[in-house]
């Protein structure tokens, strides 16, 4: 193996793309034994991730219950039939959709992009301050974030105090608009991720191109719309997928803020899954909902894989 070839991956890697190992085969450790180190990770993943997924598929077709699990029968598609006629399930699907659109697609994604864009122009100390605050909200443990925003949105909380000070009508947010409150909570907690992704993407847009557009007389908005956004479109795609997947699995934040209530007005699919399985003891039905959630997640993951495929 020549030194030039060996230097290849190292050089390529600085650009961020994983390099294909040159030649592929090594004198040392040739043969199947060289794959031995993959075994522990694979065993762990098969037992604790693949195992539960297979078990999930099986349980979703049974009438398993939490209490008196003396016998569990195979019930075919009953759980799914039940779900699709259950108004509570439809309510949960709708709320999950609202939660995802408001908090992930509109909230985190757009706000993250706007913040990243503004940061390129703002004074340095403002950039550092804002970035640190947004990232702190993200690093904070989920339950602490839930608790902080619970305090913020409560009737006696900070938001109403501000509204009162501005002479605007206040209200009991967690009671009147619970899904909006938890959506905003998720925006508060999750925007940092999009901001980091877009900051990286924007820093890779060559300055010459935006300057050329400026020289050609394109106004600020037109430059953003016709030059910058198309150039980071792949980042937008991957970020939307990752945001949506993260939002689909939010449980702790909603559970700690509202427990899905009042009534079922903030019961998204993960909350309903938990509620059916443990509060109503219907493990089979809860798992069927989990399986549907997993399928939607898998679908989004596949789209994501297609978007980043060329880099593997």
């Amino acid at each position: 193996m020549s030194a030039v070839e060996a230097a290849g991956p190292a050089a390529a890697c600085r650009g961020g793309a994983p390099p294909p190992p040159p030649g592929g085969r090594r004198a040392r450790g040739a043969g199947p034994l060289r794959w031995l180190p993959v075994v522990p990770a694979t065993v762990l993943l098969l037992l604790f991730l693949a195992g539960p997924i297979v078990y999930c598929v099986y349980t979703a077709f049974t009438d398993m219950q939490l209490t008196g699990s003396s016998h569990t029968d195979f019930v075919g598609l009953d759980n799914f039939r039940r779900a699709f006629t259950d108004p509570e399930f439809r309510n949960a699907v709708w709320l999950t959709l609202v939660f995802t659109v408001i908090s992930s697609i509109v909230g985190q994604n757009t706000l993250g992009l706007v913040l990243a864009g503004l940061m390129r122009q703002a004074a340095k100390w403002v950039r550092t301050l804002t970035g640190s605050l947004v990232i702190t909200a993200w690093v904070l443990p989920e339950i602490v974030a839930a608790f902080l925003l619970y305090a913020f949105f409560r009737r006696e909380g900070t938001l109403n105090a501000i509204l009162h000070w501005l002479h605007l009508p206040s209200q009991n947010w967690l009671f009147t608009l619970p899904i909006l409150a938890v959506s905003f909570a998720n925006v508060w907690r999750g925007t940092a991720f999009s901001m980091l992704i877009y900051s990286a993407a924007l820093s890779e847009v060559p300055k010459e191109i935006t300057e050329a557009a400026e020289v050609d007389g394109a106004s600020g908005w037109r430059r953003v719309w016709h030059v910058t956004l198309p150039m980071i479109s792949r980042s937008i795609g991957t970020n939307l997928m990752l945001n949506t997947l993260q939002t689909l699995s939010v449980f702790g934040l909603i559970w700690a803020m509202t427990r899905g209530g009042p009534g079922n007005r903030s019961t998204t699919l993960p909350v309903m899954m938990y509620d059916q399985a443990f509060n109503k003891s219907l493990i089979g039905y809860g798992t069927a909902i989990a399986l549907l959630l997993l399928l939607v997640g898998a679908l989004f993951s596949l789209v994501y894989l297609r978007l980043v495929r060329t880099e593997v």
Partner: protein
């Protein structure tokens, strides 16, 4: 805390007015993001704290001394440390071992394997928690620290492998080849040559995995039942959710004690995680 270097982008030459407008807009966002955090800090030193932001009339550390007991702070924090520490160790060891052949050799299965790993990083782990509970009851792992740690490790493993493999790709092959020529085995080469060279990457994977597990609520909430086994993420929920009259100041104080370690840890890796994001496959213009 410091920002990832990628946020420190070179500022384009622009009219000052645009710069002031951008700064003002960012400051508004900063205030919105700061309000809940300010409440946390102020309430933790206010014995009369309620739910809105206000300056404490007589600031004191009374809330902290009230929660610094075995029952409220020390036992849950120790549980968190044992649970997340052991799970992180397992994740990092498995990820380093797996990443080595994936980074160094090209086999028929390495690409499908990596694609499967990347696919699993995205799956909503929340959705498998009900079946995991069912499975753990069947195999008697429910309410055990070891079972919970194993599941936490497995759930964090796909991203750790992916990150580790990308950091490993950045280590030049020249030194390894020298080690091979000297007759070192694959494992020796990994431990003595490759891992020391990727110290920063190893730190990022370790701390990132630890932060994710430290903040994880749903997994221990489902899999651990005995109160004195609960980590801080669940005990804080019990504290906050199940007591009749919540003492907000104390809750804020406990939240601070629970959050500050991960915020400090994050600050340690912040600069390098920026690069990790680019490598994470998520970013390409």
């Amino acid at each position: 805390m410091s920002l990832p270097s990628l946020l420190r982008v070179p500022v384009l030459r622009r009219p000052t007015r645009a710069r002031i407008a951008a700064s003002a807009a960012l400051l508004v966002a900063a205030v919105a993001f700061a309000l809940p955090l300010v409440w946390l800090v102020l309430s933790s030193i206010d014995s009369q704290a309620d739910l809105r932001v206000k300056l404490p009339s007589s600031p004191s550390f009374g809330n902290f001394s009230a929660v610094l007991t075995d029952e409220i702070t020390f036992t849950p924090m120790l549980n968190s440390l044992v649970l997340c520490g052991s799970a992180t160790l397992l994740t990092v060891v498995c990820a380093a071992l797996a990443a080595y052949p994936l980074s160094r050799y090209r086999g028929r299965f390495s690409r499908p394997y990596l694609l499967t790993i990347l696919f699993s990083t995205c799956l909503p782990i929340t959705a498998v928690m009900v079946p995991v509970y069912g499975l753990f009851v069947q195999v008697n792992l429910i309410d055990t620290m070891s079972g919970t740690a194993l599941f936490l490790a497995a759930s964090q493993l796909p991203f750790a492998i992916w990150l580790m493999k990308n950091f490993m790709d950045g280590v030049p092959l020249v030194l390894e080849e020298a080690a091979w020529t000297d007759g070192a085995s694959g494992l020796q080469t990994l431990v003595r040559v490759v891992l020391p060279l990727m110290g920063p990457g190893l730190t990022v994977v370790t701390i990132y995995s630890f932060i994710m597990m430290w903040g994880n609520f749903f997994v221990p909430f489902m899999l651990l039942l005995t109160p004195d086994q609960l980590p801080a993420s669940v005990s804080i929920f019990t504290f906050f959710g199940n007591r009749g009259q919540v003492i907000y100041g104390q809750l804020a104080a406990f939240s601070m004690l629970y959050s500050v370690p991960v915020i400090l840890l994050y600050a340690l890796i912040a600069r390098r995680l920026g690069g990790g994001f680019a490598l994470g496959g998520a970013v390409k213009g």
